[in-house]
C-alpha cells in the first residue's frame, strides 16, 4: 500500500530518529510512505484568529499537492503537523466563505474543498494494519518494559480533530500493548509540556515537563513514548539540566513510539538513530534484553 507522507521540518533535521524509524517500520509492515514532493512548512501552530486567513495558506498548499499527486489521504507523524494540517483541512471542508478566500490565493482553477483526509501514523496502525495484525508482526516483544504513553495536546484537542477521546485516549496504550510492552496509566499523559514557550522561557517549560515526568515515574514507568519532536525536546532537555543540578532526580528515557515499533519489528537498530536520543533511552532497552549493543556516537542530544 502506498501512502502520501508529509514529514514536516523537524523530521528532516533534528528528529531523524522519528523519521527514519517511521519509514523503515512502515515498509516492514507493507506500507510504502511516499514523501510529498515540494512540501512546505505547515506553520507548526494553527492560526486561531477569525480575521486573518494568511496562516491557513501554507497547510492548504500541502493538501492541494497531496490531491495533485492523486492521493486521497496524507499521513503525518509530528503532532504539531497533524494538528495544523487536520484543522486547516477541516476549515476548508466546513466554512464555504473562508474556503473561497483561501482558494483565491491559490493557482487559478484550484478549488480545494478539503477532499484529502489527514491521518496520523497511529491511526494507520490502528485502522489499516490493526492491533492484532501488528502483534503478529512483532518479532521482539517489548516484554517487561513499562512505558508511559504520552499523548500531549495537539493529537487530542480540540475535540473535532482528535484521533481518540480527548480526555481518556487509549490509542498509544493499545499500540504499546500490541508491541508486547506494558503501558502504564499516568495522570499527566495529556498534559502540556509547555510547547514553544521553551524559546521565551525555558524555566517555565522545565517546570511543566517535570510534572509530566514525575507523574510517569510515580506511576512506575521506566520509559516514556511520544510522537512530537517538540515534546521530546522539552521532556528530554529539562531532564538533562535538572539531573545536573540535583543528583537525586531520576531520568526518564524518552523515546518516539516509532523507535519502539522498529525495535519490536526486529529491524536493525540503526534505523532508530539512537544517537539523537538520551543515552538512557538505549540503555533501558538493553537492560531489558530487547536491544543488543548499538554502535552509536554517544553524548549527543537530539
Amino acid at each position: 500500500m502506498d501512502l502520501s507522507y508529509y514529514p514536516g521540518c523537524t523530521l528532516k533535521t533534528k528528529a531523524r530518529n522519528l523519521a527514519d524509524s517511521t519509514v523503515a517500520s512502515m515498509a516492514a509492515l507493507g506500507v510504502n510512505l511516499v514523501e510529498l514532493p515540494r512540501w512546505n512548512c505547515c506553520g507548526a501552530v494553527y492560526g486561531l484568529t477569525e480575521d486573518n486567513l494568511l496562516h491557513q495558506l501554507a497547510p492548504v498548499r500541502n493538501l492541494i499537492r497531496v490531491r495533485e499527486q492523486g492521493y486521497s489521504r496524507v499521513v503525518t507523524i509530528c503532532s504539531q503537523c497533524y494538528h495544523v494540517l487536520k484543522r486547516a483541512n477541516r476549515l476548508m471542508r466546513t466554512d464555504p466563505e473562508k474556503r473561497k478566500t483561501v482558494n483565491s490565493f491559490m493557482d487559478e482553477g484550484v478549488d480545494y474543498r478539503g477532499e484529502v483526509e489527514v491521518v496520523h501514523l497511529l491511526e494507520v496502525l490502528r485502522d489499516d494494519i490493526g492491533w492484532k495484525n501488528l502483534a503478529q508482526a512483532v518479532k521482539i516483544p517489548l516484554r517487561g518494559l513499562k512505558v508511559a504513553p504520552y499523548y500531549g495536546c495537539t493529537l487530542l484537542r480540540p475535540r473535532e480533530i482528535a484521533l481518540d477521546s480527548p480526555e481518556m485516549p487509549t490509542i498509544l496504550d493499545d499500540l504499546l500493548h500490541a508491541l508486547g510492552a506494558t503501558p502504564v496509566y499516568f495522570p499527566a499523559s495529556t498534559r502540556c509540556c509547555g510547547s514553544f514557550q521553551v524559546v521565551a522561557d525555558p524555566d517555565f517549560t522545565a517546570r511543566c515537563s517535570r510534572e509530566i515526568l514525575d507523574s510517569a515515574l510515580l506511576s512506575g514507568a521506566e520509559a516514556l513514548a511520544l510522537s512530537c519532536p517538540l515534546c521530546s525536546f522539552n521532556l528530554g532537555s529539562s531532564q538533562k539540566e535538572l539531573s545536573q543540578l540535583h543528583s537525586d532526580i531520576r531520568v526518564v528515557p524518552v523515546l518516539y513510539f516509532t523507535q519502539l515499533l522498529a525495535i519490536s519489528l526486529g529491524l536493525i537498530p540503526e534505523v532508530c538513530r539512537f544517537e539523537l536520543n538520551d543515552d538512557e533511552s538505549r540503555l533501558i532497552l538493553q537492560s531489558k534484553g530487547i536491544l543488543g549493543e548499538v554502535p552509536v556516537e554517544t553524548g549527543k542530544q537530539g
Partner: protein, 134 residues
C-alpha cells in the same frame, strides 16, 4: 434604556477581542474550569477566567498588563472543557495578536543566543515566532 457604564474606548476593546477571536465573551459564567485545567496557571498573574471577566468588562489595559496570554501555550484544555463553548485558546490568541499587530514583539529573535538557536528544534522556533513575534 441602555446605560453606558464603560468609557467608549474600553467597549471597543471588548468588541475587538470578540471580532478577532470570533468568541461571544458574554457566554462565560465564571465557573473556573479553564483555570482549573490550565497547565500554565502556576505562572499566570491572571487566571484564564479572570482574563475573560476583564474582557467582558472591556478592561483592556489590565489584560495587556498581564503575562497570561503570553504564557498560554495553546494546549486547548480550556477549549475542550468549557461548558459554555467558549474557545478560550482563541481568546488568548486574540489578546496576543491585538498587541503583536502594533508591531510589538514578545520574543526578540535577534536576542536568542546562537547556541540556543542551534539546539532548539525547528518546530519550537517556528511556533514561537508565530505566537510571539509580529
Amino acid at each position: 434604556m441602555i446605560i453606558d457604564v464603560l468609557p467608549r474606548r474600553e467597549i471597543n476593546s471588548a468588541k475587538k477581542i470578540e471580532e478577532v477571536s470570533g468568541q461571544n465573551l458574554s457566554l462565560c459564567y465564571q465557573c473556573g474550569l479553564c483555570a482549573g485545567g490550565c497547565p500554565a496557571g502556576f505562572a499566570m498573574d491572571l487566571l484564564p477566567n479572570q482574563v475573560l471577566h476583564l474582557a467582558q468588562l472591556g478592561m483592556w489595559e489590565r489584560i495587556t498588563g498581564s503575562k497570561t496570554a503570553w504564557l498560554c501555550a495553546s494546549c486547548f484544555v480550556c477549549t475542550v472543557r468549557c461548558p459554555r463553548g467558549v474557545d478560550i485558546a482563541k481568546l488568548m490568541e486574540a489578546v496576543r495578536c491585538i498587541t503583536l499587530r502594533q508591531n510589538i514583539n514578545y520574543v526578540e529573535p535577534s536576542k536568542i543566543a546562537a547556541e540556543t538557536l542551534a539546539e532548539l528544534p525547528q518546530v519550537a522556533l517556528v511556533s514561537s515566532f508565530r505566537k510571539h513575534t509580529a
